[in-house]
Every structure is written in structure tokens, then in C-alpha cells.
């Protein structure tokens, strides 16, 4: 038996979380150190998985399969392919940086890190799940800690409202998908005579075209709620704004990918004919999200709302890429998930640093940060360049194929959607100018300090990744492509 590396990655955070809960409440430093150790360990393992994934062999690797409830065909089956490997790495990175950023939390850090780590386990679990039941199991685990994290440590003005809204939205979405999953399970049983939740077997279940057309929308949209798809995106900016920094990073950086990824894995891969039938609708929703999100982001004065809506816009691009169902679009979507994940995490991290010091996030009330926190400024600018899709950064590697893919299917959608690039550039530039480079308002003078070393480590980690992928797309693109090949095969070898 080989080393069960994926299981170790999945269970490291939750075990660490439970362990942390056993500490006495006043030993805050020990709690933080343990949390950082666990996060580093998970990051190193996910880097290891990323490096040793064999792109030429493709397919699902590092597989582990155990019976969980054989009578009903429920298994514990994990494995990663070209689509999910980058996302596992992403989760590792965000978890690591999230712990660094949250070092200063003074209110019950023990519970904070425990809940954050339970969330992280849920996220890892979904990305590596090859069993539908297991996927739901971890999906729900990833959802409920959000409520507490936002409600307890969030922004006092909106946290209760936002936490409940987010939880209900996501829970509704997931249970709608669950009904679809149960329907798939029983129909697959009728078709093949095998009771199984294993997705590799469900792929072969020959669902009738009509069945796929009926169930695709509930399943896809149920998950896509978490991906922030228009018109179900409403929970997301509120949630981002109310959440504490590390949770915003997790939420925008990883959780939204969770929705998009599950929608892809369960919706498109198990019900490909349904996906072909409804692709126009998904494309329409995604197209609206891209442009609408960018416009709304442009109108915001609160930095977190701005980033929140820009996430809606960027996640719209992911969905847009998926809706093309062709190689370029899907590859772009895969890379965009990673690129947007680290970019938004960076944005929220820097915003959090500014807010902690200036106690405001209103762009109009800020200024002159560049002189005091140059490191964070550079980080934010690089994030901004990624966001605009500048060549040389990961955003370009992601967005360019998406637009190519859309062009192949519906050229005019590509044209309309590309408006968003201009608007994105506008709001990012304005934000950089106002917050960092204009003279600092008098009331802030003297109160602001530079960011800590830990913050710098977090920023540097993320920035290096963004530039690396931008300059050397070959570290990620071939891997994602190998995953896309598999999806295209399910779609009938387009």
C-alpha cells in the first residue's frame, strides 16, 4: 500500500482543528503555532501532489478507495486529475496564507482556527472526492463553519444578516443538488443494476437524454450557487464583506471554486447531454455575471464590496469557460479557478491589512498607503494586473483561452464579455490610485503602521505563484488540459 497522501491532506486540518479545541483557552500562542504547523504540513503535501502528478499519464492519480457503506454502494474514493490538482494546491496556499494573516485574532483564536480548519478539510475533501456521497458529505462540512466564522468574527454591522443569508443560500443550493444526485443514483441502478455513488461508474450509467435534460439544471445550478453564478450571486458580496479577512480569503479564494468545481464534476461530467442542451442558458447567466459584476464593482466605494463583485465577475468567466464545453474554454476555466483564487485571496488579505490599521475600507476615505506599506502596495498592484488579465501574469493565461473558447461558440458573447476587461481595469486602477498613491487624509496620518513580517510572507507566496504561472504557463496549463481531455471524452469526443 502506498502512502495515502490525499487522505492525509484531507484529514490534517480537521484533526489539527479538533486537537486545537482541546487546548486551554488562554494558550493562544500555542494554538497559533499548531495551526501554522498544520497548515504548512498540508501545503507541503499539496505541493508534493502537484509536483508528482504525472501529466503524461493523466487520468485520476493517487487514488484510494475504501468501502464506506457497501450495501448502498457508498465508498470513500479519492483521487485527483488535472482539474482538481491545481485546486488542491490552491487550498493549501490559501490555508497557509490565511493562518498567517489571522495571527492577530485575539477573540477566541482557538475556536477560530478550529472552525477554519474544519472548513479547510471540507474543501480538500470535495476537491479530491470521486464518490458522489462523499462529495456531498464534505461539501456540507465546508458550508456550516462559514456561518460561525462570519457570525462570530465578522464585521459587526452586517455579520448576522450576511452569515444567515449565505448559509441558507448555500444549503438550499446543495440540497437541491442532493435530490438530483439521489435521482441519478437510483436511475443508474435501474440502468446498470449496480448500486453505487462512485462517480467513475456513474459516468458510464447511460442516463437517458431526457433524464439528463431534466436534472442538469437543478444539479448544476444548485452547486453553481456557491460558485456565485448570476442570478444567485447575491449572498456572495454580503458574505465577503461581513467575513473576517482569513474567511474572506477562503470564501472567495476557495469556496467559490468549490461550487464551480462541483458543478463541473457532477453537473457537466455526469450529465453531459444535459450540459449540451442547457449550455446556452449557462452561457447567458455567466455572460451577465461577467459584465454586471464588473459594472457593480466599479460603483462600489467599499473595497470589500468592490472585490466581492469583482469575484462575481471573475467567477462568471469561469462559468463562461465551462459553458463553451470546448477545450479552450474549459482549460481557461480551470486555470482561472486557480488564478482567481490566489488573486482574490491577495486582495482580501491586503484589504484586511488596511482595514485593521485605518478602520475604514471606504476608498474615498483612504489614501497614501504606498509610502507606509510598500510591500502590500506592490502585492496589490500585481494582483490588480492579474485581475485585468495582463500578459505575463496568471490572469492572462486563464482569460485568453476562455475568450478564445467563447469566440468559437458565440463570437458576440465574447465581444460583450470582453467589455468587462475594460471596466475591471478602470476600477482596479482607480482603487490603486486612490488608496495607495494620493496624499493620505489627515485623520489617518500617524496611525498607520507597516504590515508585519508574517503578512509579507503571505503576500510573497501568492505573488510568486501569480508571476510563475504567467511567465511559465507550462507549469499549469498542460495539467489542466489533461483534465479537460477527460471531460471532452465524456462529452462525446468533440
Amino acid at each position: 500500500m502506498t502512502f495515502p497522501i490525499l487522505s492525509v491532506i484531507v484529514f490534517t486540518p480537521i484533526v489539527a482543528g479538533v486537537f486545537i479545541l482541546l487546548f486551554p483557552a488562554e494558550r493562544k500562542t500555542e494554538v497559533r503555532v499548531t495551526a501554522l504547523a498544520a497548515a504548512t504540513f498540508a501545503l507541503l503535501l499539496s505541493i508534493w501532489v502537484y509536483i508528482s502528478y504525472d501529466v503524461n499519464a493523466a487520468g485520476y492519480q493517487f487514488q484510494e478507495a475504501y468501502n464506506w457503506l457497501p450495501t448502498l454502494g457508498i465508498g470513500y474514493h479519492v483521487g485527483v486529475d488535472g482539474m482538481s490538482t491545481p485546486l488542491v494546491l490552491l487550498t493549501g496556499v490559501v490555508m497557509f496564507t490565511g493562518v498567517l494573516i489571522s495571527w492577530g485574532i485575539e477573540d477566541r483564536p482557538r475556536e477560530f482556527f478550529a472552525f477554519l480548519f474544519i472548513l479547510a478539510s471540507g474543501v480538500f475533501g470535495v476537491f479530491v472526492a470521486l464518490d458522489l456521497f462523499q462529495l456531498f458529505f464534505f461539501y456540507e462540512i465546508a458550508v456550516f463553519p462559514m456561518f460561525l466564522l462570519i457570525a462570530i468574527w465578522g464585521w459587526i454591522k452586517t455579520r448576522e444578516y450576511a452569515a444567515m443569508k449565505l448559509t441558507l443560500y448555500l444549503f438550499i443550493g446543495s440540497v437541491v443538488s442532493l435530490v438530483g444526485a439521489l435521482a441519478m443514483y437510483w436511475v443508474a441502478y435501474q440502468n446498470t443494476g449496480v448500486l453505487t455513488f462512485d462517480m467513475l461508474q456513474l459516468e458510464q450509467a447511460n442516463f437517458s437524454e431526457q433524464f439528463q435534460i431534466i436534472w442538469f439544471l437543478p444539479v448544476f445550478l444548485g452547486f453553481a450557487v456557491l460558485g456565485g453564478i448570476w442570478p444567485f450571486h447575491n449572498w456572495s458580496p454580503d458574505g465577503h464583506v461581513a467575513a473576517p479577512t482569513a474567511v474572506s480569503m477562503f470564501h472567495a479564494g476557495v469556496l467559490m471554486k468549490l461550487g464551480a468545481f462541483a458543478a463541473l464534476r457532477v453537473g457537466i461530467m455526469l450529465l453531459p447531454k444535459g450540459a449540451e442542451y442547457w449550455s446556452w442558458l449557462i452561457m447567458a447567466f455567466a455572460g451577465i455575471a461577467v459584465v454586471y459584476g464588473a459594472f457593480i464593482a466599479f460603483m462600489q466605494d467599499d473595497m470589500k464590496y468592490m472585490i466581492g463583485f469583482s469575484s462575481v465577475s471573475h467567477m462568471g468567466l469561469v462559468m463562461l469557460g465551462m459553458s463553451t464545453l470546448n477545450q479552450n474554454g474549459l482549460t481557461g476555466a480551470g486555470v482561472q479557478m486557480f488564478s482567481h483564487g490566489i488573486m482574490t485571496a491577495l486582495f482580501f488579505a491586503v484589504t484586511g491589512m488596511i482595514y485593521d490599521r485605518a478602520h475604514t475600507r471606504q476608498i474615498s476615505e483612504l489614501g497614501g498607503m504606498a509610502k507606509i506599506m510598500p510591500f502590500a502596495t506592490i502585492g496589490f498592484i500585481i494582483g490588480g494586473l492579474v485581475s485585468m488579465g495582463m500578459p505575463g501574469f496568471s490572469g492572462f493565461v486563464a482569460e485568453f483561452p476562455i475568450f478564445m473558447g467563447v469566440w468559437q461558440v458565440q463570437p458576440w458573447v465574447a465581444i460583450v464579455a470582453s467589455i468587462s476587461i475594460v471596466i475591471t481595469a478602470a476600477y482596479i486602477m482607480r482603487n490603486i490610485r486612490d488608496v495607495f498613491f494620493r496624499p493620505m487624509p489627515e485623520n489617518l496620518e500617524g496611525h498607520i503602521t507597516d504590515v508585519t513580517v508574517l503578512d509579507k510572507v503571505a503576500i510573497a507566496t501568492v505573488v510568486i505563484l501569480m508571476i510563475a504561472i504567467g511567465l511559465f504557463p507550462s507549469v499549469m496549463v498542460p495539467m489542466v488540459q489533461s483534465g479537460v481531455e477527460n471531460i471532452l471524452r465524456l462529452l462525446g469526443g468533440v
Binding site: A25, E111, L168, Y185
Partner: protein, 483 residues
């Protein structure tokens, strides 16, 4: 009818419970003052020992009918018996530090008597036996509900429970007697052949089913026989309310499942449809009313009504998976709800309040109790990795399997409502602060019985929710006895 070892084994748990009760009766008067608490240790320890002995020597093999058709000795009954005994043991722990229950040995003896009755309910194969068992269960529970004689609410609870119980059981008895009149037998397994052979006309059979549903519906508190539950739960001593909402409810389901599946297979579609509608109404009403509650015991009462509705989904699927899922659901639910009531009890003992608003700041006053509450409430809400999640998935899967997608959808919509009010309580626990007080100066000390009980239950909830295969296997073995 000659004696066989099987007959002895089939009622071994009951014999042992009786012996335990009598021992307690003899020993208890010699204990003075603080020693009185020992009754609780003795009951809980004794019940766990009984459970262990039964699991070792009295496991059923092939299902057989014993005592001239009075009892059925099979896994279905046995599994439920173990759940009741476990529930009673935990309840005994929670009763120990109750100001009145804990100081009086009678309360533990009544608890044992009720458990004995429940065990017989789960095993009954004959209507006469069944009725006797139900009464053996109910009468001690009436007394326990009204145990706090000086407390008006408790007295009211006991009295109300008794009036409702007497009324509904009379209606059910009327149904039984008519059934005997029409069919000429009181044995469930013989009744089956009657209904299959068409000797009972559809109309008559359905009428009888409705009369029986009244009695059992009261036990499991489904709408419209639920009115007693909120008042009785609020008024009775909290550990008793916990016992009523778990073991007693499960006993009702044990009877309901066996009686309907075995005795009325020919009209399964009809009774299942009636119960399906009742289940849908029960869930919806329970959850919607729970939203508005400000008293935690009332909220849990309505939530337990809603949970009866979810469990009913498995019954109305009338399939092997359906019954399996009911048994599994009840297992998860017993663990979870006992924990919830245990926490309420522990909190109430220190603060004297049941108002949800007074839970503010609890996570700072007692982080451990708050974590237990988090586990219990998220399990009630149906979140993984806790027992409630898989249990719900199984009942919904059973409904989808038999093409009752509508019922699964109603269940799912309801669980969303559930999430809202459970999370609202957790919000109070974790987010809100005590007005103008420093929480650290108001800790909530937990005495040892609570610590043991809550730790066991929390681990149980996690075990059922993650390593569910063995439990599901046992539930499946139980369900197999009906199909």
C-alpha cells in the same frame, strides 16, 4: 407450550431490568442524603451492564415467535430494545443532579418500568400484548412528567399528558377491538393473511388503520396528535422531556413500523399515502412553529415533532431501505436529542432558565458545553459529519427510490427551515454577550454525570455520522425481519 431457552433469552433484557428495579427498591431506602445520588449511578450502570449482557448472550438468530404468539424475538425488536436501554441509562445520568428527581429513588424505578414497557412494545406480536406494553410504558411516564408536585407546570404537564394519552389509547383500543371483531385474531402475523385474503374490506381496514394511527400518532407526536408535546416538554422535568422525545417516540415508531408493515401489507399503498400526507404536514408545522419559539424546550418540542415527520418518510416508503432508514434515523435522533436535552438540563441547573435569550455568552461561560451544543444542534439540522446528515440522506433516498420525490422535496425544504432556527440558537450561544457582565465570572460547572453523558453522546453522534456502515448494517438486519 413448553419452555425453551429461546423464550428465556427473548425476554432476558426485561427480566434483568425488573431485577435491577427491585434491587434498587430494596437498597435505596438505606441511602441517606448525598448517597441518594447513588440510585442514578446504579440505574445507569445497571442498564449498561444489561445492555452488555444482552448483546453478548441474547442476540436473536432466526426470527421466531415466542410465548404463544405474544412476542416476536428478532433483530427489529432487539435493536430497538438496545436503543431504549441506552436512552434510559443516559437519562438516568441526567436525572441524578436534578433537584427533585435525583433525590428520590422512585423516579429511577419509574424510568426502569417505562423502559421495560418500551422493550415489550418493540417485541409485541399480538395486539393484546401491545396494548399492555403501551400502558406499561405510559403510566410511569405520566407520573414522571408530573413528578415535581410543587411545580404547577409540571403537574399540568403530567395531567395533560395523561388525559391525552388516555384518550388516544382508548381510541386505539377501540380500533384493536374492532379489528378482532372483523378478523377473529389479535395476532399481527395472522392479521396479515386476513387482509391479503381480502377478508377485511378496504374501507373497514382503512377505518381501523385510522383509529390505530390516533394512538400511535400520539406516541410519536405527529400532527394532528401533537398538541400535548410542547406543553408537556416544557412542564416536565427536563431529563424526562428528553426521554419522552427520544426513547418514547422511538418506541412508537417501533410499533408503527412492525404493525403496519406486517399486519396491513395488502393496503400498504393506502395507509402509506395517509401517513405520507401526515408526515408532510408534521414536518412543515413542526418546523414553522419552532421558528417562533423563545423557550428552548418548546423549540426542541416542535423540532422533535418535525423529526417525527422526517422519520415517517422512511415508514411510508414501505421498503426494506425505508425501514432501515427509519431505524437508523431513530438511532441518530436518540443520540442527538438526548444530548440536546442534556445540555438544556445542565444549563438550566446552573442558571435556572430555559429562555433562548439567556444562552447569550454561553460559549465563553462554558466552551465545552457550547461545543457539545454545536454538535447536537448541527446534527439536528442535518449537517455532516454528524449523525443527522446521513440519517436524513437515507430517508430521502428511500423516498426517491419509491418515486415519492415530492415527499423528499418537502423534507428538504423543511430541513432548510430547520437550519435557520438551529443556527439562530447557536448564534446566541457563540455570538451574543451577557448584558454588562463578564462571562468568565459566570461559569457553568458540569457535574460528572453530565460530563460522562454528554461526552458519550457527542462521540456517538460523530460515530454514527462518519462510520455509519455497522449501524446501517444492524438497521438493515432489523428491517429484514419485516420483508
Amino acid at each position: 407450550m413448553s419452555y425453551t431457552p429461546t423464550m428465556f433469552l427473548s425476554i432476558l433484557p426485561e427480566i434483568l431490568i425488573l431485577i435491577l428495579g427491585m434491587l434498587l427498591l430494596v437498597v435505596e431506602p438505606f441511602w441517606k442524603g448525598e448517597q441518594r445520588r447513588n440510585s442514578g449511578w446504579m440505574t445507569a450502570g445497571g442498564l449498561l451492564a444489561i445492555m452488555a449482557i444482552s448483546l453478548i448472550v441474547a442476540r436473536p438468530g432466526e426470527a421466531v415467535t415466542v410465548f404463544g404468539g405474544m412476542l416476536r424475538y428478532d433483530w427489529l425488536g432487539f435493536f430497538f430494545k438496545m436503543m431504549f436501554i441506552f436512552g434510559a441509562a443516559i437519562t438516568a445520568l441526567f436525572m441524578m443532579d436534578h433537584e427533585i428527581l435525583g433525590k428520590r429513588g422512585e423516579s429511577f424505578i419509574l424510568l426502569l418500568a417505562a423502559t421495560l414497557g418500551m422493550n415489550l412494545m418493540a417485541a409485541s406480536a399480538d395486539l393484546i400484548m401491545l396494548y399492555l406494553a403501551i400502558e406499561t410504558t405510559s403510566i410511569p411516564l405520566y407520573v414522571l412528567a408530573g413528578f415535581m408536585l410543587t411545580d404547577k407546570k409540571s403537574t399540568e404537564a403530567g395531567f395533560k399528558y395523561m388525559l391525552f394519552g388516555a384518550m388516544t389509547s382508548a381510541v386505539m383500543l377501540y380500533g384493536f377491538s374492532l379489528l378482532f371483531g372483523f378478523a377473529g385474531t389479535t395476532n399481527m402475523y395472522e392479521l396479515a393473511s386476513m387482509t391479503v385474503a381480502g377478508q377485511l374490506s378496504l374501507g373497514v381496514a382503512l377505518g381501523l388503520v385510522v383509529l390505530i394511527v390516533v394512538g400511535l400518532g400520539f406516541k410519536v407526536s405527529i400532527v394532528p396528535f401533537h398538541f400535548w408535546a410542547p406543553d408537556v416538554y416544557t412542564g416536565s422535568p427536563t431529563p424526562v422531556a428528553g426521554f419522552l422525545s427520544t426513547a418514547s417516540k422511538a418506541a412508537g415508531f417501533a410499533v408503527l413500523t412492525r404493525l403496519f408493515v406486517i399486519a396491513f401489507p395488502a393496503i400498504a399503498y393506502e395507509w402509506a399515502s395517509i401517513l405520507a400526507v401526515l408526515a408532510a404536514i408534521t414536518m412543515t408545522l413542526g418546523n414553522l412553529v419552532a421558528l417562533k419559539q423563545t423557550n428552548i424546550k418548546r423549540m426542541l418540542a416542535y423540532s422533535s415533532i418535525a423529526h417525527a415527520g422526517y422519520a415517517m418518510i422512511g415508514v411510508v416508503a414501505v421498503s426494506e431501505l425505508g425501514v432501515t432508514s427509519v431505524v437508523f434515523y431513530l438511532l441518530a435522533y436518540i443520540l442527538t436529542n438526548l444530548a440536546a436535552f442534556g445540555i438544556v438540563m445542565a444549563f438550566e441547573r446552573v442558571t435556572g432558565s430555559d429562555e433562548i435569550a439567556d444562552y447569550a455568552g454561553m460559549s465563553r461561560r462554558s466552551p465545552g458545553l457550547a461545543i457539545a451544543m454545536l454538535v447536537a444542534f448541527l446534527s439536528l439540522a442535518g449537517m455532516p459529519p454528524f449523525g443527522g446528515f446521513v440519517a436524513k440522506v437515507f430517508v430521502f433516498a428511500a423516498a426517491v427510490q419509491v418515486n415519492m420525490v415530492w415527499l423528499a422535496v418537502v423534507g428538504i425544504l423543511n430541513s432548510i427551515v430547520g437550519v435557520y432556527y438551529y443556527l439562530t440558537v447557536l448564534k446566541v450561544v457563540y455570538l451574543y454577550r451577557m448584558e454588562g457582565e463578564n462571562e468568565e465570572e459566570h461559569p457553568i460547572p458540569l457535574s460528572r454525570p453530565y460530563v460522562i453523558g454528554l461526552v458519550v453522546l457527542t462521540i456517538g453522534i460523530l460515530l454514527v455520522g462518519t462510520l455509519f456502515a455497522p449501524w446501517f448494517g444492524l438497521s438493515g438486519a432489523a428491517a429484514l425481519n419485516l420483508f
